[in-house]
């Protein structure tokens, strides 16, 4: 596993990891507050400093707007997303390719993660942005774990994607026949 040491000692990999983890965490935590963020963006009633303070304060909603399990899932998802991106970019830098299988599991894992966000948040979810509210809340009510299933599926897919990417990175670079 020498490539692990290579990746860890690489500054760009750390940059990609921190930025992507932070980005996905921000998107997930801010998603239930989209209406307020849109309103703040166009509002003349608040100064930029107030808007910034309000937005920074939103990170605390990781504890107010999600239950404990969801908060842990969101943090895990964000970290896995960061690891995935590091592996993908490493693969592209070294081999200039990645298998569709890995990219698909990574992409679908992220998508499930986003859809599963806040499923327990009484309707304030990404799903209700994509589907009519009645359909979204109906779907959640139908799921035995109130939507946590989607988040668990996302973690499984992203973990699988990490595994696939590691296998690909370890593959020798050869000219295919």
């Amino acid at each position: 596993m020498k490539f692990v040491t290579e990746i860890i000692s690489n500054k760009i990999s750390w940059l990609v990891f921190v930025m992507s983890t932070w980005a996905i965490l921000t998107i997930i935590v801010f998603m239930p507050h989209v209406a307020m963020l849109r309103s703040l963006a166009v509002s003349n009633s608040f100064t930029i400093a107030t808007k910034a303070q309000t937005i920074v304060g939103l990170y605390a909603s990781l504890w107010t707007n999600f239950d404990f399990v969801s908060s842990l899932t969101i943090i895990t998802l964000s970290l896995l997303f960061g690891v995935n991106l590091v592996l993908i970019t490493w693969l592209f830098r070294v081999k200039k390719s990645a298998s569709l299988k890995s990219l698909f599991s990574s992409g679908s894992g992220t998508l499930f993660g986003l859809l599963g966000v806040g499923c327990a948040a009484c309707g304030s979810i990404a799903l209700s942005s994509l589907l009519p509210f009645i359909t979204a809340s109906g779907l959640i009510a139908f799921l035995p774990l109130d939507g946590v299933e989607l988040q668990l599926m996302a973690i499984a897919l992203l973990s699988y994607s990490c595994y696939r990417l590691i296998v690909e990175i370890k593959k020798p670079m050869v000219c295919p026949i």
Binding site: S39, T64, T89, A121, C122, S129
Partner: protein, 281 residues
């Protein structure tokens, strides 16, 4: 200098190390030529990150095709289960808010500079948390500065029967004991119950009614006959008309009438800067 030599000089040390490692592992395989310049070294990972953020942002801000088509009441057997089509423009939808009057349940003064109208579902765990946050807000600001208005938004499909029954119960409490009884009942309910439709409403509602000194028999009759069903339905209707898609759903009204939508259980840290700015203006 041939192409291979050119490539070798432009490689960074770590990349040639990786190549060496891989060729060492597989001595019989020929390494594939990879031309990685300094530019691509930085642009590829950055492009992937930026693309991901843009796609996610697009999903987040597009609002999707169905976001404005919401049902007034999730119970399809209800005769009032008509679909409401709120305004496409979120800001315009906020103007549909029913005016705050003396008939509302208010903590603070009706003419406070900042008014936060909350549409809440008593069985929603995030409403329970936001209830604490709002109690913190009204505790820390003067009555003339911030007022908190409580309205009902029970989500029948997520918390069938119990959320609506509790909304009716709070109205029955107010019927007997006025606004003070309403808040005493509501605060105690959020304090006692586990949320997520796990409340034993048959036990808890009369228990709280007794605790706060109401006539329990009269209270039970009031809840059983759904005496205030119209009031609860009117609140649900108004929540949807103003753009509410989940609970807690709140609208902050500034001194100049500006309305800001507050979706979800906002933390105090986010509410405070906005309230302070509105009080200064």
């Amino acid at each position: 200098m041939n192409k291979k030599e050119n490539t070798a000089t432009s490689e960074s040390a770590d990349e040639s190390q990786i190549r060496n490692d891989l060729t060492t592992d597989t001595p019989n395989s020929a390494p594939k030529d990879v031309d990685i310049t300094e530019d691509t070294k930085f642009t590829t990972p950055m492009a992937v990150v930026v693309a991901g953020v843009i796609i996610a942002g697009a999903i987040m801000f597009s609002g999707g095709g169905g976001s404005n088509q919401v049902a007034r009441n999730a119970d399809v057997n209800e005769p009032q289960a008509n679909e409401v089509q709120p305004s496409v423009n979120e800001q315009e939808a906020l103007e549909n808010i029913n005016p705050v009057t003396a008939d509302d349940y208010v903590k603070g003064n009706l003419d406070a500079k900042v008014v936060i109208v909350e549409y809440s579902d008593a069985e929603c765990p995030f409403c329970k948390r936001f209830h604490e946050t709002m109690n913190q807000v009204v505790d820390e600001y003067d009555d003339s500065e911030v007022a908190w208005v409580y309205r009902h938004f029970p989500l029948e499909q997520l918390h069938p029967v119990k959320a609506r029954k509790t909304a009716l119960a709070t109205e029955c409490a107010a019927d007997q004991g006025g606004t003070e009884a309403f808040w005493a009942f509501t605060d105690r309910f959020y304090e006692l119950t586990p949320s997520n439709n796990q409340t034993d409403t048959d036990t808890v509602l009369p228990q709280i009614a007794g605790e706060i000194g109401l006539n329990v028999n009269e209270f039970n009759d009031c809840v059983a006959t759904e005496k205030f069903a119209d009031a609860v339905d009117a609140d649900i209707q108004n929540a949807v008309e103003t753009g509410g898609q989940g609970t807690p759903w709140s609208i902050m009204i500034g001194p100049d009438g500006t309305k800001t939508p507050l979706g979800g259980a906002l933390p105090y840290e986010s509410l405070k800067p906005m309230i302070d700015q509105m009080l200064e203006s």
